[in-house]
Subunit: 148 residues, 2 copies
């Protein structure tokens, strides 16, 4: 199977991974979540080839995760902004960050503060119905007959 | 910058992405989260080249996310099992799945049930301190001076 073909499997992890599961994609989105919007910033910060960066931005734009907007004319300049669909990838980034804080950085590089209560939220996955935090073993999974 | 160099940036997203942010890595872990352990299963299910699969399994084992264990001798056979460090990537997979359920599959292929309450948990990210669900705009971020 080719990576692109993941877009067609009947699996939500697979279809999402076909969109974000490549080198650099989440790193570009991380910059976007920090408020960065410009090609030159992405290129300088990540230090990656322009061909790779252009490819990733093109895919993210085509997917509706980023929107390419002109913000200046003469010369024309464009920026990349997160759409709502892009914003909704924030939990993915947060989960990546938490794992890295736990296993990769004795001193976390970023401290989050929950504005409402003033504390580090130590993001926890909870059940929307009963409110209890849960892990994998607290769940059962029911697959559709044709799930991949 | 090369992908491998992300392992050395002072950023938890970057360091995590250096480990899981390549084609197929999360798809292998998805199979592990479903209880699969064998090379031949991964290969058949994902339909990817043995060179790619071997490389990813080697990296995940070296990283301590999977453990390679002998389960049979004559002939010797090995399986790959999630360690606790691997289990702790479950929130990443859950976040990928949720986004896919929202944007990629009108009918979600898998329905999760929270055993404790019997309902779909619709996983929600909450503050461990005050218990309230939050999104990106409910947070401030304080960066260490040398954060990447």
């Amino acid at each position: 199977m080719r990576h692109e073909e993941l877009a067609d499997v009947y699996c939500s992890v697979g279809r999402t991974w076909s969109t974000v599961g490549e080198r650099w994609t989440m790193m570009i989105l991380r910059e976007c979540f920090r408020g960065e919007r410009q090609y030159e910033h992405f290129q300088r910060k990540l230090g990656i080839g322009r061909n790779v960066l252009t490819d990733r931005l093109h895919k993210l734009t085509e997917e509706g995760i980023l929107e390419r907007r002109q913000y200046q004319s003469r010369p024309d300049r464009y920026e990349y902004r997160l759409t709502q669909k892009g914003e909704d990838l924030y939990p993915v980034m947060l989960a990546l960050m938490q794992w890295g804080d736990q296993y990769k950085n004795p001193t976390p590089p970023v401290r989050l503060v929950h504005k409402a209560c003033g504390h580090d939220p130590l993001p926890t996955t909870s059940c929307a119905y009963c409110g209890e935090p849960f892990g994998r073993r607290d769940l059962t999974a029911e697959f559709q007959p044709d799930a991949w």
